[in-house]
């Protein structure tokens, strides 16, 4: 068992989400940065899509009541084990009553903790990912208790560490043309790939609003499908990049679609940072 001493700013259990349930209007959900979550899981010998904890921006303290293996990947939030700094991207052997704490954000925005065997919250519609109205809770609270597997003696003993070759500090977001891209004018198309865009404070697991692109004369579309990575252009000229918890349908023109890698990169960015779209077509 793991006891939540402090939940941090926004912490939830996430796996790779509810792909295939969208015909019920169910969001995809799942870890924002799949790459980092997959690294963390691999380090403790899990499947890449096992359930992990996703910590957002800052904080969090967890008491381990049993022995296990963990790995921390993604954002650097100054993780400490019993008050001593521990590295990212490395398998750590946890003893009963160890306390893992997180502090100030150094880089990135979302940090992932994988445990041996994955977190054992309830699976609903093929996923453990927290989402209001689907799972009993939407984020962790103080004193929550999380079940985990007992550590098997046969666990992967090899002590290899690997350095993930994943650079989320880049400002380039790879994007493909979206279904309504062709309705943009030539100058709008040029601007879309050459304007620095600033992440606004209206950014969450549902979507990131980007400021800086102002001209829009495209009409709304008949409600159609959207998915994580879809870039919508609103009537006010705001660009919205839909993220993992987005709705399944929308009525704004879909001008771009981010690559899987770009969604991971954007997940590690926050309010005030600048990004560019990079044309992949």
């Amino acid at each position: 068992m793991i006891k939540v001493l402090k939940p941090g700013f926004y912490t939830s259990v996430q796996d790779f989400g509810r792909e295939g349930y969208q015909h019920f209007g169910v969001p995809y959900s799942g870890v924002m940065d799949r790459q980092s979550a997959a690294f963390a899981n691999s380090l403790v010998g899990n499947l890449i899509n096992d359930a992990v904890l996703e910590l957002t921006m800052t904080g969090g303290a967890f008491l381990f009541e049993q022995e296990t293996l963990i790995a921390i990947c993604g954002a650097n939030m100054c993780a400490k084990l019993n008050g001593i700094k521990v590295p990212l991207n490395k398998r750590l052997h946890i003893k009963p009553l160890d306390v893992l704490t997180f502090g100030k954000l150094i880089n990135g925005f979302r940090c992932y903790i994988a445990v041996f065997g994955g977190f054992k919250t309830k699976t609903i519609m093929g996923s453990k990912s927290f989402y209001t109205g689907i799972t009993p809770q939407s984020f962790l609270k103080k004193d929550d208790v999380l079940k985990i597997d007992a550590l098997k003696k046969t666990y992967y003993k090899n002590n290899t560490t690997f350095i993930p070759n994943f650079n989320f500090t880049t400002n380039d977001l790879e994007a493909f043309k979206g279904p309504e891209y062709s309705s943009l004018s030539a100058s709008q198309k040029r601007l879309l790939f050459n304007t620095p865009l600033t992440i606004s404070n209206h950014s969450s697991r549902m979507g990131y609003q980007l400021k800086g692109f102002v001209s829009n004369n495209l009409p709304s579309i008949i409600t159609s499908m959207v998915r994580p990575g879809t870039v919508q252009l609103t009537p006010s000229g705001m660009l919205i990049v839909l993220m993992r918890d987005c709705q399944t349908t929308g009525g704004y023109p879909r001008v771009l679609q981010l690559s899987a890698k770009a969604i991971n990169i954007l997940s590690q960015k926050y309010m005030g940072q600048e990004v560019y779209f990079k044309n992949m077509d």
């Binding site: 792909e19 295939g20 349930y21 969208q22 015909h23 019920f24 209007g25 169910v26 969001p27 609903i124 519609m125 109205g133 689907i134 799972t135 493909f176 979206g178 279904p179 579309i221 008949i222 409600t223 159609s224 499908m225 998915r227 990575g229 709705q247 399944t248 349908t249 679609q257 690559s259 899987a260």
Partner: protein, 240 residues
């Protein structure tokens, strides 16, 4: 199957198929029929979801776009492979139009120079077609609202609309499956669950089905709510 369709890659492993940009039952049926054929004929198919005039088809990541589109185009034209889709069903949905739930009914009646009674009768008069489920888990996009009842959305949305609220927004009517912010005009409340994440099939309705509303009293609303809560309420439907 005679429409000109467009095929676009939409993210790495899905293809967006688009019909002419209209809301029509003929297009919906054509789309559902094609969806059914794809489900049964394309080997690396994973799943598909539809909206009014678009079908998003997800595949295993290993596909060559041009080859797959060629295959899909042939399949669309192949009448021999037209399969009968499962029968649609007509669901009868109880709605309490008491003004304690229908908080916008009186303002709407005033605005439209209609009585509350005639608004309710009009809303219950015709079955609506389920086009798809989107926006919120279990939110049905329904077509077929009487023009007289069409009402522009509120200028500023309510921060919370109750679960089960039956509402009108623009040319659409629908039921809020869960409490949520919303800008539609609320005319009643249904005690039925439109979304239950714990069931294998969390929504009873599917695209192509019909929905018919019928008025119930406040007392009946309370009674049905109890049965729904105890999971013993059985929703009435007819095969079409």
């Amino acid at each position: 199957m005679a429409y000109t369709l467009t095929y676009k890659l939409f993210s790495e492993c899905s293809i967006l198929i688009t019909w002419p940009a209209r809301i029509s039952e003929t297009i919906l049926n054509d789309m559902l029929c094609f969806k059914h054929k794809i489900e049964n004929s394309i080997s690396n198919f994973l799943y598909a979801t539809n909206a009014y005039h678009t079908l998003l088809v997800h595949f295993n990541s290993d596909f060559v776009f041009d080859d797959l589109v060629k295959q899909l185009k042939m399949l669309y034209k192949d009448k021999g492979k037209d399969l009968k889709t499962g029968s649609s069903r007509l669901w009868r949905i109880p709605v309490c139009y008491d003004t304690c739930f229908g908080i916008d009914l009186e303002a709407m009646a005033l605005d439209k120079k209609m009585t509350v009674k005639s608004i309710v009768e009009t809303h219950c008069a015709t079955p609506y077609t389920v086009y798809f489920i989107g926006f919120l888990p279990g939110f049905l996009y329904l077509g077929g609202l009487d023009n007289i009842l069409a009402t522009p959305r509120k200028a500023s949305p309510r921060l919370e609309v109750k679960k089960g609220a039956v509402a009108i927004g623009g040319m659409q009517t629908g039921v809020y499956p869960n409490a949520s912010p919303g800008g539609w005009h609320i005319i009643g409340n249904s005690p039925i669950h439109f979304f239950n994440p714990l069931l294998d099939t969390p929504c009873f309705a599917r695209p192509g089905d019909k929905i018919e509303f019928y008025p119930i009293s406040l007392k009946t609303h309370q009674d049905i709510s109890v049965l729904v809560k105890e999971q013993v309420y059985v929703l009435d439907y007819k095969l079409l």
